[in-house]
């Protein structure tokens, strides 16, 4: 059974991989993921804020009270080797790279062009095989147009591409007025892949304490549908390879994503709940499904249900909306 795929120019034995998540913090977990058949390791994100704000804040808290009082010129020791957030990340890239034989895809999360982009180059130096650029951004400024938001996204990509030679995937949110157009522009600007979609943090409201509580719920398979649609739309239209993330929990989910056009399938919530070995289960189930349905390779099914190839393309477009709404009324 040929499960191989090509994602970001990387030849992978199968399309399954952990998505960006805290799983990559722990080397043991990473090794277990590889053992369970992960075709690549996507690391947790290094955040722009981590590079700029946190670095500054840490130094601030250590130094804030220094040289103020005669008996205590400082309050912390000065270890010779002391690194803050981003350095640790780079070390973790190197550690994971050394520990596994599959490709390592590092992840940078940022929304503005700035000094932090320099870390893309250092991530490459640390051994990453590819980079996932997560342009998480919530446009809250009424003065800022959608066009401006997209331009900035493109600028960030261009500056990252300038800094590295490894492939770069852009992880998008679904909240653009024209995802297809943006995808085309990103590809034009050098994106080697698109990852659909970023799951926004969805803060909860505490009505007792009148507080906004930051929260991230695990995904469910229902979230896959949005991604399937856009995979189907983009497949064959953008040169970049496509990955799905958010909502893949089972072999069925994975097969759907591949049929919609995904080159790679990222899983997070399911692995967090069921552990790394769940990857092996999903893979085995894909194989048995393919066997039962007489598929020889993934290649056969990739994009088979995309907009360009599926029997009823309107189902992905407005027609789907009308039909579902009507069906619901009925």
């Amino acid at each position: 059974m040929d499960l191989s795929t090509t994602y970001l120019g990387l030849n992978l034995q199968n399309p399954l991989m952990p998505g960006a998540s805290p799983m990559a913090h722990d080397l043991d977990t990473v090794k277990r993921l590889e053992d369970a058949g992960a075709a690549a390791i996507v690391m947790h994100s290094l955040f722009e804020e981590q590079i700029s704000q946190e670095q500054f804040a840490s130094i601030h808290h250590i130094e804030a009270h220094a040289e103020s009082f005669a008996e205590a010129l400082s309050y912390f020791p000065r270890p010779g080797e002391f690194v803050l957030g981003p350095e640790q990340y780079l070390e973790q890239v190197a550690r994971i790279k050394a520990a596994v034989s599959v490709p390592v895809i590092a992840s940078l999360n940022g929304a503005t062009v700035g000094g932090w982009v320099e870390y893309a180059r250092r991530i490459q130096q640390a051994g990453a095989d590819a980079l996932e650029l997560n342009v998480y951004f919530l446009a809250t400024d009424p003065q800022e147009t959608g066009g401006a938001v997209e331009r900035r996204t493109l600028d960030v990509l261009r500056s990252v591409k300038q800094a590295v030679t490894i492939p770069v995937a852009v992880k998008l949110s679904p909240f653009y007025s024209s995802v297809a157009n943006l995808a085309a522009e990103l590809t034009e600007a050098g994106a080697d892949g698109l990852v659909l979609f970023n799951r926004f943090y969805q803060p909860e409201i505490d009505i007792e304490d009148l507080e906004v509580v930051p929260r991230l719920e695990l995904s469910t398979s229902s979230e896959l549908l949005l991604r399937l649609r856009w995979l189907a739309v983009l497949f064959g239209r953008a040169r970049a390879s496509l990955a799905v993330t958010g909502g893949v929990h089972s072999a069925t989910d994975a097969i759907k994503a591949i049929m919609a056009g995904a080159d790679a399938v990222q899983m997070v919530s399911a692995l967090l709940v069921r552990g790394p070995q769940h990857l092996r289960t999903v893979r085995a189930e894909i194989e048995s499904w393919m066997e039962a349905h007489e598929y020889e390779s993934l290649h056969q099914m990739r994009g088979s249900m995309s907009l360009t190839r599926c029997p009823d393309p309107k189902a992905f477009e407005r027609g789907n909306y009308v039909r579902v709404l009507q069906g619901w009324r009925a």
């Binding site: 009082f69 005669a70 309050y75 690194v83 000094g115 932090w116 009148l210």
Partner: protein
């Protein structure tokens, strides 16, 4: 640290200079932190943690012990077992080492220790420098070697090590605390080759050969009888006789190697000098400088610097003096009350007499010798004072004993001196910088010295004066640059460059008093170059005009804000200094500043480097010269430092100190025994908060939580009769008092605008949110300046409102916060986590409270002059407070209790004796009074007053005796207060003993989990995984469970509290502890700046600490056994949520991740386990109750015996 063969030019302070040589020349370092020596141990620890080797390739082992006594023991053992060993200490720490020093010397052990000489605590404590500590060691058998400058500290650290190995006499190498230990100077650093050349292998082998080893067993430490001890003690004489010669040879050898030549006594001055001053320490450099100045003016004067003070070589001393000398003044930086003279003076007298008797005195005429004290506790010692001493020697009948540097108008011992005399050469640039601790001024200046010292041929010196308050702390930096090594061991008085980095300081201090005529003045001000002049007070404008100052200004805060630097204006102001002063070319200076920024932060953060660079680049465009008008335009004067309403002593003495002019106060101004009035912080309005809380009476629910958490007692609540409002100022706010018990009252929450530090903890705790705009709470921060005038008036009115009747207040969180705090406006850090507990203590029991306070943060904010926070209520009652030592606090407080018990027993006996005379019913009521409530105590006070009335009419001696001690019939409350360094480490032995005694002593441990006051060294309270000094990779051992240890007695009331997590629990624990008839121990979780986060978040962190099980809340009350219950109550739930959530909000835990990720993970796993295990254990204990039957049976069993 240098490389192996190259001598490098470095700019370091005295502590680093000592540690650099000592660390590289030793194998084991055992220390205990004490100011001002702590940095020597810290440098060693850092180097050891970084794996830096000594000169033989091994990495020295550095350990922190539980006390200096412990360090001395460890040193002694390590030396006996054959390792080259050193230690660093000062002051009381050195005293704790004395017992071992006798042993080490008696055993002729090669050992060099390094002491930053510091004042011993007598009538008061001082962290500053003099020789009283080292002089207390002159009888131990140690050689005493004095170094006078940073270069000498470095050199003598090695000379001491070499000489001890050669002579076998142990060495105490000392230098002046702060003046030398903390002075930054340019020196030549010795290479490893230099060290190896001075410490040859044969001497080290000899040391090893004397080691105790089972391979060549010997016995030491025998007990000797009268037949043997005396002779055996004399057997070592030859080593002491030989020692000066060994030191002289060692110095010669050192001179050959380095070109720096030293002698046992170094004479400088006229070859035919008539007047010579003899002294040691940094003052000798000032005398040296003054002698040169006097020589140029034709005076025949000289100075003899004593290097090796013990063993004192009489022959070398006499030989070093010019034969022409007719008058000698010996200066001692110590005081020996009752002695015929101070120690060095006595030695000089003895030496001269011996020389005369033995016939080797070469003097034309026997010189007269006078002796004086100078420089106690870092009192300034200046050329003007030196001139006064030389002047006195020339007088017809000089004072035989004198002091210099102060005005002694009581015993008339002091020499007058010319305060305006300026002897400093013109080619030395002098600069003074005023800043706040938080703005990075000192760090920037240290960096400037480094740049100038290491990038130009100039010599450089920096000395830094710090505030005694920890919040809003001012710093004054004194910098000198010049073509020759700088010997001026005194503050700059006339500077050619004066910078004020904080505009507020212009209102409080005479900043321009430091400016020489024609100087440059740089002011950071929130105004443009056109407006700044108009914001200056009249006195400031006058000085600018009179002294014809060139005036520059910059809005550095704005530049910092624009470049994302927050409040750090250091790089900006440093750039200004270089741009204006012309020490380096602008371009070169900027390049060097940028280089050093990169060197400091490069590894830690590109972004930090980038922002700093940007700030530097933005500076010059924002730096403006101010066009100074022809004449003074300001109408307003500087506000007084101390309120005009303050009592006479506060005005006359404390006010002068608060205005930075304490040096001018004469001896008569001071109490003779260190007794000081209470309640003085109220008179010093510091105005340090940029923003203060503002009350919204509409939505406030009157919970008083803000009052409880305020670290500085600057937000308070009262309820009162509405009638009283008729005199209220127009903006005074008030609302109806919500209460079930009392009706018809008004309620006010009022802020002290000029005392608040702006920490915003009160806003954080406020549970109220405006329903339509939850951002808005019942208290909100707003800029202070627009509110200052009106709120000052409101605060005064608030204070004038009656205090509530203590006997009618319900002692819960809300009720307790109507009680007047008798601890207010302390100098503790903004957001301090300790002071809310101390304040609560004074609210609950302040009118009957004796506090014994261990040395540490709480003794500094509690008792550091000029103004102190403990105060009185309207009856004049309040806490009486004292700090004895660091190590003896529990015993000291226990002593209070013994005295109280003794006096109250005597009083009771006398009441019984006089029962008929005072009235049997009254006597009976007094003797049987239950004083367990406020009401009962008030009743007893009433009875005692009644009895006093009756006693007045009696004429018996018993009545007189009872009158004196009658107040002891009213119960007093003894609280022993201190930090974890005291309770867990240095004072633990005593604490443990007091716990075992069962007397009514309450102990409050303010647990910051680290030595806070001395700068973050680990204690046994430091938790696993936290970074601290001496645990720089994160502490690997778990925190000691002091609560558990105390519970094992079964007779001690124990509580672990955290006011930010559960305030009712804290209040309850304090009340239960007080009511418990035996000893109590409260361990109070105290957020601290040494934890590395914004203390505004301190309450949230306390909540997380309790929630995650990091800090379980417990109460252990032995009284519960009587009810058949387990004494232990677990007052917080099982650990919930990930411990990491709590830990990683704090830099102390986060840093471990930065150092070693894998280790951080392991420590986290272990810390999680600690939390679970401790909770389970507590849970088990809380569940193991004896049944009532079993309790009864146990009681019956007792009875049967």
């Amino acid at each position: 640290m240098s490389d192996s063969t190259q001598r490098r030019i470095v700019t370091v302070d005295g502590n680093e200079a000592a540690a650099s040589a000592a660390y590289r020349a030793n194998e084991v370092v055992a220390i205990y932190p004490i100011t001002p020596s702590s940095p020597m141990g810290e440098f060693s620890d850092e180097w050891s943690a970084q794996g830096k080797p000594n000169v033989w390739g091994g990495v020295p082992l550095v350990v922190e012990m539980q006390s200096e006594g412990g360090a001395a023991g460890a040193v002694h053992g390590s030396l006996q077992a054959g390792a080259l060993t050193t230690t660093f200490t000062a002051s009381q720490g050195l005293l704790l080492m004395i017992p071992n020093m006798y042993k080490i010397a008696g055993e002729l052990t090669a050992f060099a220790m390094h002491v930053s000489a510091r004042t011993l605590a007598t009538h008061g404590l001082s962290i500053f420098g003099d020789h009283s500590d080292v002089m207390a060691c002159r009888q131990t058998g140690f050689a005493l070697l004095a170094s006078n400058s940073v270069q000498e500290v470095h050199d003598f650290a090695l000379i001491a090590q070499a000489a001890t190995l050669r002579s076998r006499v142990p060495f105490l190498h000392f230098f002046d605390g702060f003046r030398t230990s903390h002075e930054v100077a340019k020196i030549e650093q010795l290479s490893d080759d230099d060290l190896r050349a001075m410490l040859p292998a044969d001497l080290i082998e000899a040391h090893r050969s004397r080691a105790m080893t089972p391979d060549r067993p010997v016995l030491r430490g025998t007990a000797q009888n009268p037949d043997a001890f005396f002779q055996a003690r004399e057997a070592a004489n030859e080593f002491y006789t030989a020692c000066p010669g060994v030191v002289a040879e060692t110095m010669d050898r050192f001179g050959e190697l380095t070109g720096r030549h030293y002698h046992l006594f170094d004479y400088v001055g006229h070859p035919d000098a008539e007047r010579v001053v003899v002294l040691m320490g940094s003052g000798a450099e000032t005398v040296h400088e003054t002698v040169e100045w006097l020589l140029a003016r034709g005076e025949k004067v000289g100075v003899l610097k004593v290097r090796l003070y013990r063993p004192f070589s009489v022959g070398d001393f006499v030989a070093a003096l010019p034969a022409s000398v007719t008058a000698i003044a010996v200066l001692d930086r110590t005081k020996e009350p009752g002695a015929p003279g101070e120690p060095l003076y006595m030695d000089v007298i003895a030496a001269l007499r011996e020389a005369q008797d033995k016939g080797f005195a070469r003097f034309t005429t026997p010189p007269t010798v006078i002796g004086g004290r100078y420089g106690l506790a870092s009192k300034e010692f200046t050329p003007a004072m030196v001139c006064a001493v030389f002047g006195e020697m020339a007088a017809a009948s000089p004072k035989p004993r004198f002091t210099v540097g102060i005005t002694d108008d009581v015993t008339g011992l002091s020499l007058p001196f010319d305060r305006d005399l300026d002897t400093e050469p013109d080619d030395v640039s002098r600069a003074v910088f005023f800043g706040l601790g938080a703005d990075g001024t000192v760090g920037a200046n240290k960096n400037s010295i480094k740049i100038i010292g290491e990038e130009t041929p100039n010599f450089a010196q920096g000395y830094f004066v710090y505030d005694s308050k920890k919040s809003g702390a001012m710093t004054i930096s004194h910098l000198r640059f010049g073509p020759r090594p700088i010997q001026s061991a005194y503050l700059v008085k006339r500077a050619s460059f004066v910078a004020c980095h904080q505009f507020v300081l212009m209102e409080k201090y005479d900043v321009l008093g430091y400016a020489a005529p024609g100087a440059v003045f740089l002011l950071n001000a929130p105004y443009g170059p056109e407006e700044v002049w108009d914001h200056l007070a009249r006195e400031v404008q006058e000085q600018i005009l009179e002294k014809r100052l060139t005036f520059y200004t910059i809005d550095a805060v704005e530049v910092a804000r624009k470049t994302g630097m927050g409040g750090r204006i250091n790089a900006i102001m440093q750039t200004c200094f270089f741009a204006i002063s012309g020490v380096l070319s602008r371009d070169e200076a900027i390049e060097k500043i940028k280089e050093s920024i990169e060197k400091t932060y490069g590894r830690k953060g590109d972004e930090v480097v980038r922002r700093n660079w940007q700030a530097v680049d933005e500076t010059l465009a924002n730096l403006h010269q101010v066009k100074v008008p022809e004449s003074v335009t300001a109408a307003k004067s500087l506000p007084p430092t101390i309120s005009a309403a303050a009592p006479e002593f506060v005005q006359r003495v404390i006010g002068v100190m608060a205005a930075n002019n304490g040096d001018l106060l004469p001896v008569s101004a001071f109490p003779v025994d260190g007794t000081w009035p209470v309640g003085t912080t109220q008179w010093e309005k510091r105005n340090i908060a940029l923003e203060i809380p503002v009350w919204d009476a509409e939505i406030c629910i009157q919970c008083n939580k803000c009052v409880l958490v305020c670290p500085h007692a600057t937000i308070r609540a009262k309820y009162y009769d509405p009638e009283l409002l008729k005199d209220a100022p127009p903006t005074f706010q008030s609302t109806s008092f919500r209460s079930q018990e009392v009706k018809g009252f008004k309620y006010t929450l009022q802020v002290a605008p000029e005392d608040c530090t702006g920490c915003s903890v009160c806003v954080m705790v406020c549970p109220v949110k405006d329903k339509t705009n939850p951002k808005h709470k019942a208290i909100n921060m707003a800029p202070q300046i627009p509110l200052r005038e009106s709120e000052r008036e409101n605060w005064a009115f608030f204070l004038s409102l009656p205090e509530p009747d203590r006997t009618r207040i319900k002692l819960d969180v809300k009720g307790s916060q109507f009680l007047t705090p008798l601890f207010e406006y302390s100098g503790a850090c903004a957001g301090c986590g300790e002071t809310p507990y101390v304040k609560l203590l004074t609210q609950l029991f302040g009118d009957r409270l004796l506090i014994s306070n261990a040395t540490g943060c709480s003794s500094i904010y509690g008792g550091n002059l000029p103004t102190t926070p403990y105060t009185t209520n309207r009856d004049g009652r309040g806490p009486t407070w004292s700090n004895s030592l660091f190590e003896d606090n529990a015993e000291f407080g226990f002593g209070f209790r013994l005295a109280l018990d003794s006096l109250s027993e005597q009083a009771e006996d006398l009441v019984r004796t006089l029962a008929q005379q005072v009235g049997p019913d009254l006597a009976d009521a007094i003797l049987k009074s239950d004083q367990s409530s406020e009401e009962a105590i008030a009743a007893q006070r009433g009875r005692v007053a009644l009895m006093r009335g009756k006693l007045a009419g009696l004429s018996t001696p018993a009545a007189r005796r009872l009158e004196v001690i009658a107040d002891y019939l009213v119960r007093k409350s003894v609280w022993v207060v201190g930090g974890d360094g005291w309770a867990y480490d240095i004072g633990y032995g005593g604490l443990d003993h007091v716990l075992s005694m069962g007397r009514k002593v309450n102990i409050l441990v303010l647990d910051t989990e680290v030595y806070s006051n001395t700068g973050g060294q680990q204690s046994k309270a430091t938790p696993r995984g936290a970074v601290a000094k001496f645990a720089s990779a994160g502490k690997s051992m778990a925190k000691k469970d002091l609560a558990m240890m105390a519970m094992t007695y079964g007779s001690v009331y124990v509580a672990r509290v955290a006011f930010g997590a559960k305030d009712t629990h804290t209040v309850t624990a304090f009340l239960e502890a007080e009511s418990y008839p035996g000893t109590s121990l409260i361990i109070a979780y105290s957020p601290c700046i040494a934890h590395g986060y914004d203390l505004a978040m301190g309450l949230e962190q306390q909540k997380l600490a309790v929630e995650t099980g990091y800090w379980p809340l417990i109460r252990y009350d032995p009284r519960r056994l009587e009810e058949g219950k387990s004494p232990l109550q677990l007052d917080s739930g099982p650990p919930k949520g990930d411990l990491a959530k709590f830990l990683y909000n704090e830099a102390r835990f986060r840093m471990v991740e930065g150092i070693d990720h894998a280790r951080a993970r392991d420590l986290l796993v272990a810390a999680r386990r600690d939390v679970q295990m401790r909770y389970r254990l507590y849970e088990l204990l809380a569940k193991s109750a004896l049944s009532t039957e079993a309790t009864a049976a146990a009681a019956g069993g007792d009875a049967a015996e």
